[in-house]
């Protein structure tokens, strides 16, 4: 009963979100995000048909669509990065390097695990695989949000909603995937399904109508980077000296 109500609520919210996206012309501004919502809507309906038609086929359809959704989700993160940092090449450069570093680190960790246990891939269940990939995705979002916050990147209401909704959804999913049982339905099973409802509600609130992203002003662009960096380092050193002098007195 609870599963059914979560399922129907998700469908209604998705249709509503897509309708608002079309009427507010948000669909053309965030095509990947609305593509993802359309995909999840189609996937939910398709899965329910398969579930009625063939129980055996359902498992493979479920995991195939789940991983496709995961790939599309990564694309949403890329869309957030692209739109938010379009006017900030310096911060975009920083974000690229950090994400590249994290990606290499994740690959190295996976390679090391495979090296130490060659049967690991065969022994890993789809659930464990999803959890590992979602964890990498969560780390990437943490890094991106930290970069956005550190460089005070201004966000419009729409983009902020997409980021908050998707981030919360991934955070909740990662935690739920750790505790969700392989078979049966407990609290974590419902929490896992309901996490998407929370994200949908947030998206609907933030994407009700289009709101412009505040434009970046370039008053300090003419100044050389090295000059600014040296001045900052000097000011930080002064602060350190100030602290030392005060306590050492």
């Amino acid at each position: 009963m609870l599963s059914q109500s979560i399922w129907w609520s998700s469908i209604v919210l998705e249709v509503f979100l897509l309708t608002r996206g079309v009427s507010g012309r948000l669909l053309f501004r965030y095509p990947v995000f609305y593509g993802y919502i359309s995909f999840v809507l189609a996937q939910s309906i398709f899965r329910s048909f398969v579930h009625r038609w063939s129980e055996e086929l359902y498992s493979s359809v479920y995991w195939t669509t789940e991983f496709l959704g995961l790939i599309l989700g990564c694309w949403i993160v890329f869309e957030i990065y692209r739109v938010a940092l379009a006017a900030y090449p310096g911060t975009a450069k920083m974000a690229r390097k950090i994400l590249l570093f994290l990606f290499v680190l994740a690959l190295a960790k996976a390679a090391a695990a495979l090296w130490s246990d060659p049967h690991l891939l065969a022994e890993t269940t789809a659930l464990q695989m999803e959890r590992a990939l979602r964890t990498v995705q969560a780390i990437a979002i943490v890094a991106l949000v930290s970069v956005f916050a550190s460089y005070s990147i201004p966000f419009g209401r729409n983009l902020r909603g997409i980021l908050l909704g998707y981030g919360l959804f991934i955070g909740e999913r990662v935690i739920c995937l750790t505790f969700v049982p392989v078979a049966g339905k407990d609290f974590w099973f419902y929490a896992y399904s309901a996490s998407y409802l929370v994200a949908l509600s947030l998206w609907l609130g933030h994407l009700w109508s289009y709101q412009e992203i505040p434009e970046a002003e370039s008053s300090q662009l003419e100044r050389e980077y090295q000059m600014i960096a040296t001045a900052t380092q000097r000011r930080l050193q002064e602060a350190r000296g100030y602290l030392r002098k005060a306590v050492g007195s």
């Binding site: 090449p89 949000v145 908050l164 981030g167 909740e172 995937l177 505040p214 930080l236 005060a246």
Partner: protein, 180 residues
């Protein structure tokens, strides 16, 4: 192990996003907006004489000489408050430096990854020092901090002297070995 890492990552992400939503980190801030709510005015640091006075034991010894317990307690409380305000002001000043830097370089294509990491590490270290100072003032009071700092300074001087001695001995030994 992997399960634990996943839970921690998920929790960090949820906390970070909640903080971002509550504190307006991802808000539509216009360029050059004033300090955020709760931030103190940090245009100028406290005068050095005042700061050194806060951590100095001279006034404390004078009050102690009066042999009045009530005044002693009041003095300690007031000094603690002033010292904590100073630490908060200093940490706000450091945050302001970093915030101005971030706003100035975020559009600059020549931004250097290593320099940014270096600046960020310095910032984190200074914020950690402010945090430790604040905790120490809360626990021991500002008057004992000066004493602690001088003990630490004397210790570090001893360590560096010892290091110099070891280096001299090492160099002498190496020289002797070569000549042999």
């Amino acid at each position: 192990m992997m399960e634990f890492a996943s839970v921690i990552t998920g929790a960090v992400l949820l906390l970070l996003l909640t903080a971002a939503a509550l504190r307006g980190w991802l808000a539509s801030r216009p360029w050059g907006a004033g300090p955020a709510a709760g931030e103190e005015d940090t245009s100028e640091p406290c005068p050095e004489e005042l700061v050194s006075r806060v951590f100095s034991r001279a006034d404390w010894e004078f009050v102690r000489g009066l042999k009045a317990g009530g005044i002693e307690r009041l003095f300690e409380q007031e000094r603690k408050k002033v010292a904590l305000v100073w630490v908060r002001q200093t940490s706000a000043l450091i945050r302001k430096v970093i915030s101005e830097h971030a706003r100035a370089v975020r559009q600059n294509e020549n931004l250097e990854f290593s320099t940014e990491i270096n600046i960020f590490a310095q910032f984190l270290m200074l914020m950690a020092v402010c945090g430790i100072l604040s905790a120490a003032i809360q626990l021991a009071g500002p008057l004992w901090l000066g004493g602690l700092a001088s003990v630490a300074q004397r210790l570090s001087q001893r360590v560096s002297k010892l290091q110099e001695t070891f280096q001299t001995v090492g160099l002498t030994n190496a020289g002797e070995a070569k000549s042999a």
